[in-house]
Symmetry: C2
């Protein structure tokens, strides 16, 4: 018996889930296809919502879409909390960027000047002022910058709330894997599944993250554009009775190495993350755990007293220009929402908005212009 | 309905299990009482069988019983393997003690002179000779000593084999906890259990490790003599296709800090261990994991490439003189086998021999003389 739907969403990470929720809320009949239902990448994430403290030279277009994403995140999270009755752990304390030594400080100052030139808010702090904000920082810290607008969210609560919101909106979930997109006469007509079945649908959204390269029917250059970038991180926990050691997200550069510490309301502190080009490998390595702990303890020595509750590794869907791939590219009804790299959680609400707009015949926000699939689809995609 | 037995053994770690097996093999009807059946302490252990490389100044009596223990371990393990049909992972490659810097080397030389004066075998090696034995050692290693007689066993396989041997010997296992020892007219008559029941038995063996302080009916000074000493360790694993990085047990001193690496036939490498006086706390801390990895990577940089498969913490039953507590102390039929501190696995065969001797009216080996419970039992125990 053939399954049919208004929209098939391939991939059940936060991107696919947010899209499925918004599409169903807009009145469409949605099937979400996901082998895991709650993907590993968003479970491993730290949940930083940090367009400002992540803004890098030469990535102005990405910054603009990230700023839009942050603006949208608050209302989206509020609606999610209202629909589900669960808090998602949004924290608005801001992000404190820390430079460990003078070299780290010089690099931070160059980035801060660039971020200010883009109109972003940044408050320079000397070592003492840093420690006034976070009293457990080592006095060896050279200085820092407060990015008050950069927040965080509890990624696991957020992903769980999205699953609940989807269920409430009557999204049907198929525990399977999309193996290919079906098209005829330049229009999408459904997907094929790993179990051998098909789903018929005139609209297909591919939100498969690192799995995008395995989806048949997409142009080869587009499939090749998404690669896994391994990230290892640690979940620490306060021993019973110890008060929270930090209140802000701390992003430190320790002799050139980046480490972040993200506090959670429930007493967890996430420490991350490596960036490794190792294909689909998801093992946790002794060296990465050592380096993360070493760098975290360098700026916040009390880290050594925390409990190491979990070590994990995930795969971020990276692209050649570090930007996401969102929108259509010439096959009617076929949309992509993948390649969000380090910003999947932050961008999930605006991505869902953009895809919902496409599905209902509206134009997505202008900030998405540079991130259409066409830039990677090659001649094949433009046909 | 009252349960009765020839012998009740309280505690199901390797000590209690070895005793129960040998007692049952000697024809006695044995009940082993254990809340966990397979205790945490022996699961966390590294399985070093290392009387020589562990011998310290002033612990001559302990060295003698440990040497006896190692002599007995081979035949005991062989019998265990024969009875169960499972290998326990005994490795006879020897232990390579490594000194990282000249200070570490001077300390190692002092210990080596002492060990030699006790008649022990020790081969001094320069840095190059160390690397000839273990090619992945850093060239920075100052030097080392090979203790060819110090072996290791896979503690988890060993504990599992003991459980199987017990079952084959018809030991009855009660999943409960001994709360107290019952005695009348200076003779044991059974034990009380946490679930409220009792077991009647004229012979009781208390092998409760760190739980000894909670056993009512023992003299207070004896209960107070056993304290938990926390040990944290790591289980690393080779990535697929990587050949073994070490073949010997490596015990390194890195700027005064001790770390060991113990290879397993199945590709695991155990890295340990902290020694912490923290009561019953069994959390894994960020600082301990960092320090173990740091010290291991200092001597064997390739450690960073291994997979961090598991972090764990256990409690060793320590005593004021670091020696075990084995034998009787004035209450007829009541025997103790506890306080084995760092050497529970190594000593389990000889402890089982000693207790089996006591149970069948034979004298235990003379090496046990200094380790009777009487030394801690105080006036109460001698009554």
């Amino acid at each position: 018996m053939a399954v049919t739907a208004d929209v098939v969403v391939a991939g059940g990470g936060v991107i696919g889930s947010a899209i499925a929720w918004r599409a169903a809320a807009a009145g469409l009949d949605v099937v979400l296809v996901d082998p895991e239902h709650g993907d590993a990448a968003s479970l491993v994430a730290a949940g930083m919502l940090a367009p400002v403290s992540e803004a890098l030279f030469g990535e102005g277009a990405l910054l603009r879409v990230n700023l839009l994403a942050l603006e949208r995140f608050g209302p989206f999270a509020a609606e999610l909390e209202e629909v589900t009755g669960h808090r998602v752990g949004l924290r608005r304390e801001g992000t404190l960027a820390i430079a460990y030594d003078p070299g780290d400080y010089a690099a931070l100052m160059r980035l801060t000047a660039f971020r200010r030139s883009a109109g972003l808010e940044a408050e320079e702090l000397d070592s003492r002022a840093c420690r006034k904000l976070e009293s457990f920082l080592t006095p060896d810290v050279h200085g820092g910058v407060l990015f008050a607008g950069d927040w965080s969210v509890d990624n696991r609560r957020y992903a769980a709330a999205l699953r609940e919101a989807m269920a409430a909106a009557k999204v049907r979930v198929a525990r399977d894997r999309v193996t290919g997109v079906l098209a005829q006469d330049g229009r999408a007509r459904g997907v094929t599944l790993a179990d051998g079945g098909e789903i018929s649908s005139a609209r297909v959204v591919v939100a498969t993250g690192c799995g995008t390269s395995a989806v048949a029917g997409l142009p080869a250059p587009l499939r090749a554009a998404v690669r896994p970038v391994k990230g290892q991180l640690l979940r620490l926990r306060h021993p019973d009775g110890m008060p929270p050691v930090i209140t802000h997200t701390i992003r430190a550069t320790v002799r050139g190495a980046d480490v972040y510490l993200v506090p959670r309301a429930d007493g967890e502190v996430i420490v991350g993350a490596t960036q490794e080009e190792r294909g689909p490998d998801r093992t946790v390595t002794a060296g990465a755990v050592h380096d993360l702990l070493h760098d975290a303890m360098s700026v916040l020595p009390v880290t050594s007293e925390l409990i190491l509750a979990e070590t994990c590794a995930g795969l971020r869907p990276g692209t050649p220009d570090n930007g996401p791939i969102v929108g259509g590219f010439g096959v009617g009804g076929l949309l992509l929402a993948t390649g969000h790299y380090r910003n999947g959680i932050l961008m999930s609400p605006v991505t869902a908005d953009a895809i919902a707009a496409c599905l209902t015949g509206q134009p997505p926000a202008a900030e998405w212009e540079p991130f259409t699939p066409a830039r990677f689809a090659g001649g094949e995609g433009r046909s």
